[in-house]
């Protein structure tokens, strides 16, 4: 079972992200569960949502305290909230940021993770590019598919299209697609560098 925790701010769509993830997983024939942190938080407050994906039925209802994946919608949350608490040793981290990992000063949390398990890219820029609005969810989900391989990009696109029919969904899908490509390339490069280094 995969457990995913999504951090963001109220109004940025963490619940939608969790829901879309679950839907995509469902389309892949998996079992999924998505739920918010049930807060009464207002716009801008730090919020969190959860998702579980499994091959069989999911019964547990507890919040995700030991995530396999952490998605960070808003990099300004870094150093404010314990974003990486309980992260599995072989877990994944996806960060929406224009800055590089180095610039974010989070190596101490992530240094133990395998190569290619951490990805920082500007989902917001992609959102602006395709949707003319700073919406990061589509690109993040595309990136999630790329980084984890847990769900197919096609399922992500279907989930987006189902949730947002019409032009908005179409733009989101395009953003997700580009994010998927960008992240896939980035990971391949990371791994390539590593392989290259090992080869040395």
């Amino acid at each position: 079972m995969w457990q995913i925790r999504i951090h963001g701010r109220g109004g940025q769509g963490v619940v939608t992200a969790a829901e879309l993830l679950a839907m995509a997983a469902f389309m892949d024939g998996k079992y999924a569960q998505a739920f918010p942190s049930f807060g009464s938080e207002r716009m801008g407050a730090p919020v969190v949502a959860f998702c579980r994906v499994a091959e069989g039925a999911i019964r547990t209802r507890e919040t995700v305290t030991r995530p396999d994946v952490v998605i960070i919608q808003d990099p300004t949350l870094l150093h404010q909230v314990d974003l990486f608490g309980g992260l599995a040793p072989l877990g994944f981290v996806l960060i929406n940021s224009t800055q590089t990992l180095d610039a974010l000063h989070i190596e101490e949390f992530l240094s133990t993770l395998p190569l290619g398990h951490v990805c920082a890219f500007s989902a917001t820029d992609l959102g602006l590019k395709y949707l003319k609005r700073p919406i990061a969810n589509g690109p993040l989900l595309g990136a999630f598919a790329a980084i984890t391989g847990l769900i197919r990009l096609a399922s992500v696109e279907s989930a987006i299209q189902q949730k947002f029919p019409g032009a908005v969904g179409e733009a989101n899908r395009a953003a997700a697609r580009e994010a998927f490509d960008v992240v896939t390339t980035s990971i391949t490069e990371q791994r390539g560098i590593v392989h290259h280094a090992h080869a040395d």
Partner: protein
């Protein structure tokens, strides 16, 4: 159709399929998503000529339904927490008048301190209001229970509360098989009221009844609820025939065949308990789980029968009878009267505290080792308690407990746990 869907939306879709004629609601978290969706569906004309009334309070919501139901309309509302308490007077009244109203309780704690998260304090507060109370284990259960609830309510002329854990179920996206209209119509006959406000055949509903007959009125009510215990299994059978799945029911067992420890609970925590049971079973602990699906009327004999081979029972409940202990466990104890069974009361999940598999496992093992205090508060933060007790010893005017405890815990922003 099986779909990945939010619990509230699935329930709203199921309600819509039951074709209520009058819905009245007042918003309160976490019930809102249900009524929002029903409002939309009503406005779109998806529920026949159903009338959706935006009322000024929960008290009005249920009162509207009292009138509508007495006029022969199928009626529905949903509420939570303070909302249920605010309508409390009408809750009793609807039952007393024998009106088959169906109401969803998106279970939530009761303040003060104000708390919007899940526990069962609300429906527990009104457990003796003469409503049938059903508890949903998951969202599939929630959907199915609502469909059963209308048939149950209308066949007995008695209101039914379907309790589903707030946020945990209402806001959770999970796969649910939402039936179609043909299926629901085949299962749920049109509402044929036993009494109706009709100018052609006037009756006076809601008489004042004095000491000479009040006891008898209540006796009949009790008999009616006992009859529900017979009717409900029949409805479950019928439901299975129509929908090809088993849902609802008075109570059910999980891995109880040879269990000498049983964990009894209601609602969404059952899933987590099942995980804990499985994990402990893997280590050789003979533990099982009993779900109570119908809390009122309380299926005494059925629960007792499921615990035939058990020597130890742990009742995990999301409520607290302050000054007394458990509420459900008291009922379980009464069901097990005369039997040599240890009954533990575990208070868990109050105000939305997450109940983890690991805590449950620990609790079971501690119970087995006879190390549980009574009642046992799951995951109680002992450090906070001790600091607060110390503070109160020092200062006479200690002020509100909640505020100081939050200060002690240094809660800032979102706490992830």
């Amino acid at each position: 159709m099986r779909m990945q869907i939010e619990g509230s939306q699935a329930v709203a879709d199921a309600i819509a399929l039951c074709q209520p004629e009058v819905i009245a609601a007042y918003p309160i978290s976490p019930q809102t998503h249900i009524v929002e969706r029903l409002s939309r569906k009503t406005k779109q004309g998806h529920i026949g000529r159903c009338q959706f009334l935006n009322v000024e309070s929960e008290f009005a919501a249920l009162s509207v339904l009292i009138g509508a139901s007495a006029s022969g309309a199928r009626t529905y509302t949903a509420t939570s927490s303070q909302g249920l308490l605010f309508m409390a007077e009408a809750v009793y009244n609807a039952a007393g008048l024998g009106l088959p109203i169906v109401m969803t309780i998106a279970n939530r704690a009761i303040g003060a301190p104000i708390n919007i998260w899940n526990d069962h304090s609300d429906s527990m507060a009104l457990r003796d209001a003469e409503w049938i109370q059903l508890f949903a284990e998951d969202n599939q259960d929630a959907v199915d229970l609502h469909i059963q609830a209308f048939r149950l309510a209308e066949s007995l002329s008695c209101p039914v509360m379907v309790c589903m854990d707030g946020y945990v179920l209402t806001h959770a996206y999970e796969p649910v098989d939402v039936p179609d209209a043909v299926q629901v119509n085949a299962y749920l006959p049109p509402y044929d009221p036993v009494q109706v406000l009709d100018p052609e055949r006037p009756v006076s509903i809601g008489a004042m009844v004095g000491p000479e007959a009040f006891t008898e009125v209540k006796y009949f009510s009790h008999q009616q609820h006992l009859r529900a215990l017979e009717v409900m299994p029949e409805l479950v059978e019928a439901f299975e025939q129509h929908f090809q799945r088993r849902s609802g029911g008075l109570c059910s067992a999980y891995r109880m065949e040879d269990a000498d420890i049983a964990v009894i609970a209601m609602g969404s925590v059952i899933g987590t308990i099942k995980d804990a049971v499985d994990e402990l079973r893997n280590t050789g602990v003979r533990v099982g789980c009993v779900k109570i699906g119908c809390y009122r009327p309380f299926p005494k004999f059925q629960v007792s029968a499921l615990l035939e081979k058990t020597t130890r029972v742990i009742v995990v409940e999301k409520d607290l009878a302050v000054g007394m202990g458990g509420i459900v466990s008291a009922d379980v104890q009464s069901a097990l009267q005369g039997r040599q069974i240890s009954v533990h009361t575990v208070i868990a999940g109050l105000g939305g505290r997450s109940i983890s598999t690991s805590s449950l496992k620990h609790m079971i093992l501690e119970a087995r080792a006879e190390r549980l205090t009574e009642p046992y508060f799951l995951d109680l933060n002992k450090t906070v308690i001790e600091q607060e007790l110390a503070r109160r010893r020092d200062i006479r005017r200690a002020g509100p407990v909640a505020e100081h405890m939050l200060q002690t815990m240094n809660v800032i922003g979102t706490k992830v746990s």
